[in-house]
C-alpha cells in the first residue's frame, strides 16, 4: 500500500478509488432523476409509483391532452421568439459596449448585467406591476382608433407577446455577457487589416468581426433558448388567464398527482433541448469542417 501511495502524483486522480467513487456519486445525483423521469414515462401505471411494465401509451395520452399540447407549443414559440430577439439585442449591446467609449460606460455595463443577478421573483413582480399599468392605460383607448391593437394581440402567437417580452428582457443580458467576453479577445489589427485591404466598415463587420463573434452568438442564443424554455417564476407572474406555458401547466397538473403523461411530455422537451444543443454545437464547428 505504501508503495502505491508514493507512486501516485498529485494529478493522478484517476487512480484514487475515493475520487472515482465521488465522481460516480456526483453523476448519479445529477442524472438519476432525469433517467428515472424518462424511464417512468414508459411505465404502464396510472399512479406511476411502482414499475408495472413497458408502454408508450402515455405519449399518446399526452398528445391528446389539448391543454398540455397548447402549453407546450406556447413554450416552444416563446422560446424561439425570445432566442431571436434576445440574440439580436444582446449582440448589439455587446458590440456597443465593446466598440464605443462614452460617459458612465462602467455604470452602463453594470446596469446591463443587473437582470442576471436580480432575484427572478423581483423581476416577475416588477414586470407584473408594469403590465397591469400598461393594461389599464391601453383599456382607455379601447373604444378609440387603437382598438385593432387588442384584436391583433389576441391572435397566436402575438397573445404570448407579454411573456415573450419579459423573457427577452431577462435573457438578453446573458447573450450580451457571452458575446462581450468573446469580443474581448478580438485583435483590432484584423479590423484594420480588412479596411487596409479595401473593405468598407460594413464589409469588415460582416466578413471579419461577425465570423469572430459567431461562437459567442451561438452559445448566447442557446443560453437564451434554455432560459426561456424552463422559466417558471417570471412566466407565472406575466401569464394571463388564457395563456399558459409548459412549466406553469405542469405545475398546475402535478398538484393533482404526477401522471405518466407529464413524464412523457417532459421527455419530449428534454429531447428537443438536446437536439437544439447538438445543432448549435455543429454550427459552431462548421467553418473548420467544411473547409479544413
Amino acid at each position: 500500500m505504501a508503495r502505491r501511495n508514493t507512486s501516485r502524483g498529485p494529478l493522478d486522480y484517476g487512480k484514487s478509488p475515493w475520487l472515482i467513487g465521488f465522481g460516480i456519486l456526483v453523476f448519479v445525483l445529477l442524472y438519476a432523476p432525469i433517467v428515472q423521469l424518462i424511464a417512468f414515462s414508459f411505465n404502464d401505471s396510472r399512479r406511476n409509483i411502482v414499475w408495472q411494465g413497458f408502454t408508450t401509451k402515455y405519449y399518446k395520452v399526452a398528445w391528446e391532452n389539448v391543454a398540455l399540447v397548447e402549453a407546450f407549443t406556447n413554450s416552444i414559440a416563446i422560446a424561439v421568439m425570445c432566442t431571436i430577439f434576445a440574440t439580436i439585442i444582446g449582440t448589439a449591446t455587446a458590440l456597443w459596449l465593446w466598440r464605443f467609449r462614452f460617459p458612465f460606460k462602467a455604470a452602463a455595463e453594470g446596469v446591463m448585467a443587473l437582470p442576471i443577478v436580480i432575484p427572478e421573483i423581483c423581476m416577475g413582480i416588477a414586470v407584473l406591476v408594469m403590465y397591469s399599468r400598461v393594461g389599464g392605460w391601453m383599456r382607455t383607448f379601447e373604444s378609440g382608433p387603437i382598438h385593432w391593437w387588442n384584436e391583433l394581440f389576441s391572435i397566436w402567437p402575438l397573445n404570448l407577446a407579454a411573456i415573450t417580452a419579459a423573457h427577452i428582457a431577462f435573457a438578453f443580458p446573458f447573450v450580451a455577457v457571452v458575446v462581450r467576453a468573446r469580443l474581448a479577445g478580438f485583435n483590432r489589427e484584423l479590423e484594420e487589416a480588412s479596411k487596409d485591404l479595401g473593405a468598407s466598415e460594413w464589409q469588415t463587420f460582416v466578413n471579419v468581426v461577425l465570423p469572430f463573434m459567431k461562437p459567442g452568438i451561438i452559445a448566447g442564443a442557446l443560453l437564451a433558448f434554455t432560459l426561456s424554455l424552463d422559466d417558471f417564476v417570471i412566466t407565472f407572474f406575466t401569464a394571463g388567464p388564457e395563456t399558459n406555458t409548459f412549466p406553469v401547466k405542469v405545475y398546475s397538473l402535478v398538484r393533482r398527482g404526477v401522471s405518466p403523461d407529464i413524464n412523457a411530455a417532459s421527455t419530449v422537451l428534454i429531447v428537443i433541448t438536446l437536439v437544439a444543443t447538438v445543432i448549435a454545437m455543429r454550427l459552431q464547428q462548421q467553418p473548420d469542417k467544411s473547409k479544413g
Partner: protein, 359 residues
Amino acid sequence: MQPIVSIQNVTKRYPGVIAVDNVSFDIMPNEFFALLGPSGCGKTTLLRMIAGLETGGEGGILIDGQNMAGVPANRRPVNMVFQSYAVFPHMTVRDNVAYGLKVTGTPSAEVGPRVEEALEMVQMGAMADRKPDQLSGGQRQRVALARALVKRPKVLLLDEPLSALDAKLREHMQLELARLQQAIGITFIIVTHDQDEALSMADRIAVMEKGQVRQIAGPEELYEKPKSRFVADFIGKINLIDAEVSGASKAGLACAAKGLGKVTVPFDGKASGKVSLAVRPEKLDLLARAPASKTNISLKGEIRDVAYYGDVSNVFVTCADGLELQVNVQNDRAVDGLLEKGRAVWLSWHPEDTLVLTQ
C-alpha cells in the same frame, strides 16, 4: 523624379504627448525605406498615418502626388503588413489573399490567377488550402505579405514585420524581403527598432527620436558619419569621449579629451566648447605594448571585461581619468593569451577614424 510618398510637416498629437513632431521627407519610387528608432519614437504612428489608420494629424501626406487628406484607409493605394500579421483566422490562406480583391469588386476571373501569382511569390502555393492555425509564424507572415502584394499597392508598409520571428528565420526573411522588393520593384516602407534589420535591407533610413527625424541617410553614411550622439549611439556600438575644443587649424580640430589629453582630429565643420569624440569599436587596435606609430592616437589601459561572441570578442578597457572604451577584436591567433581580465594593454587608432559630434 516625383517622390512616391511625400511627408510634409506632419504632426500628430495625443493628449499629453506629441507622437510625431513636424516631420518632413520624401520617399522615392522603388526605394526600400526604413523608419528606425526606439519604441515610442513615433515611427509606427507615422506609418499608420501613411496607411490612413491614424487620423486627426496635421500637415500633408502625398502618395504619388495625391494629397491623402480625408482619404480613408480603404481608398489609399498602399497596403500594410501588420506586426501581428492579422491573418483572418476563419479563412484559408487562399481566401485571405483573395479577400482584398473580392471586397473591392475585382472580376472573379481575375482574382484566381492573381491570388496564385501572389502565393507563388512568397512560396506559399502548396499551402493555399490551410487555415492560419495550421501555419508557423513565418508562414503566416508570408500570407500577410501575399495578401498585401496581391493588391499591387504603390507602396507596401511593413510594421515591425520580423520582430516575432526567431533569430535564424529573421535573418533569412531579411534577405528574402530585400530580394522580393528588388524583384517586384515597388516601394517598401518598413518600421523597425532593430538597427541590423534596417542596415541590411534598406536603401535609406530615417532615424527617429521623440517624434522627430534625427537623420536620413543610406546605411553606410549613417554608420560611418552619424550627425549626432543619438544616431551614433543608436546605430551599432560606439565609444563616446567627452572633449573640449581648444582651437582649429589646417590639421583639424585640437581638443582636450577625457583620458586622452590633447589630441588633434580631422574636422571640416565649425565647433567650439564641449563636443564628443566618437570612434567605433572595430576601428580600435588592441595591443600588448606601446605602438610604434606616432600618427595614431594611443593610450594605455587595463582590461576590465571580455564578452566572447565566437567570431569576435568585445573587450572593455578602463583607461586614465575613468574613461572606458570598448574594442572589437577578431578571435584569431594575434590575440591569443591577450584577452585576460586585469591585463595592461594599449589601444590605438587612426585620427581619421574619429568623429566629432557637436550635437
